[in-house]
């Protein structure tokens, strides 16, 4: 049927006219630089690179750091979308630099890269994650059981019970959701989507027995009720977690358990 077939004359080895031999294109990266030892204000700096558009933004940052300007500072650990270190605001949207291909974000125009919003910038793309992790710790993201004895066998649960919170186990704590939330941007007191997602992961775990406590924590003035369902978090999540839905489920659990 309509299977694309390689044209014989092209396959003969003669490259199509206008088709560059090199896959490299010139891309401008406009990076928000901040170094408190040099200037009090952050400023944009442009870097031009010859790069394969099938590479990732993280590769471009590496190229800049290794070949052009060694002072460029950013976090990255695994570089494969699991550790959650390199969340940044790329072309105005929170993404993982290691999961964003350059060809997908319009390389014809300058690509802007800046630190995630709402947290204090320490240097260039590195922010102070402490408020984020404080909110995470506040929801007690670990299994709590009333039985204080050490278990003698595995804590079992059915496949359905596991499925209940499967979506929220995917969180890698990259902070892309929390720092895309306009409510968090204001004063940073809101628990933020990531903390609620991780509370959700235990609240709806049949093995956990501190759901009520966690719900009480999120019933706070800065808890789930500050969510305005703008869906920024769901859009930003590099793991595809339905964050706003998880927040809504926590709200519903609070209402049904109170009334």
């Amino acid at each position: 049927m309509a299977t694309p077939v390689l044209d014989k004359s092209d396959a003969a080895g003669k490259p199509e006219p206008g088709f560059a031999d090199s896959p490299y294109i010139t891309v401008t990266f406009r990076i928000r630089r901040f170094n408190p030892e040099v200037a009090a204000e952050a400023s944009w700096e442009d870097f031009q690179l010859e790069i394969d558009p099938k590479e990732r933004v993280l590769d471009a940052l590496h190229k800049i750091k290794w070949d052009l300007d060694g002072t460029l500072t950013f976090r990255r650990s695994c570089a494969h979308g699991i550790c959650g270190s390199d969340a940044m605001r790329i072309n105005g949207k929170n993404r993982l630099a290691c999961k964003t291909l350059i060809k997908d974000i319009n390389p014809e125009k300058p690509i802007t890269v800046e630190a995630i919003k709402g947290l204090t910038v320490l240097k260039d793309l590195v922010v102070d994650m402490e408020p984020f992790f404080q909110a995470y710790r506040d929801v007690m993201p670990f299994l709590i059981t009333k039985d204080t004895n050490e278990p003698t066998r595995e804590r079992l649960q059915t496949a359905e019970d596991r499925e209940r919170f499967d979506d929220t186990t995917k969180c890698i704590l990259c902070a892309a959701c929390t720092t895309s939330c306009p409510v968090f941007w204001n004063d940073g007191q809101y628990f933020g989507p990531a903390a609620i997602v991780n509370a959700h992961r235990f609240i709806f775990d049949s093995r956990d027995e501190a759901g009520e406590q966690r719900l009480e924590i999120l019933n706070d003035r800065d808890g789930v009720w500050r969510c305005r369902t703008t869906f920024n978090c769901t859009d930003a999540c590099p793991r595809g977690i339905e964050v706003t839905k998880a927040i809504a489920e926590v709200k519903r659990a609070l209402i049904t358990r109170r009334y």
Partner: protein, 160 residues
Amino acid sequence: MSTSEKTAAGVGPVEGGAVYTVDNPAPFIEAPRKRTKKTPKSTRGNFELAAWLFMRLSGVVLVVLVLGHLLIQLVLDGGVSKIGFAFVAGRWASPFWQVWDLLMLWLAMLHGANGLRTVINDYAERANTRLWLKGLLYTATVFTILLGTLVIFTFDPNIR
């Protein structure tokens, strides 16, 4: 075999013995921040929950009340030109319309005030700004609700 050998991070050989002993305990992991009276004010009680729920419920009721109100006042029976002192006096002679208007007044004012309260909470950055804006909001709300309620209940059609 050197089971006691460990790296700076306290990680021992994979198949070695326990890395941590009585003399070399595992690093202490602090408990999460305890929420006591002194930790940044967390609101006990279900006020935010109730406010959230009120917004949804009052919203649903207001759809009926306000659309009905607009229909009666502006569309049906000659439209807006019919409205006058006599029209209002005639409507408020019936307890049904008194209750309708009273309910609409209270729900709309509280719904709007609560919405503005969340807007102020979200957008006002300084505590003082918040305090003043909310003070102004609550004053205006209470004033309007009280005045409206007073008028509905003390309305005198024979006033000269």
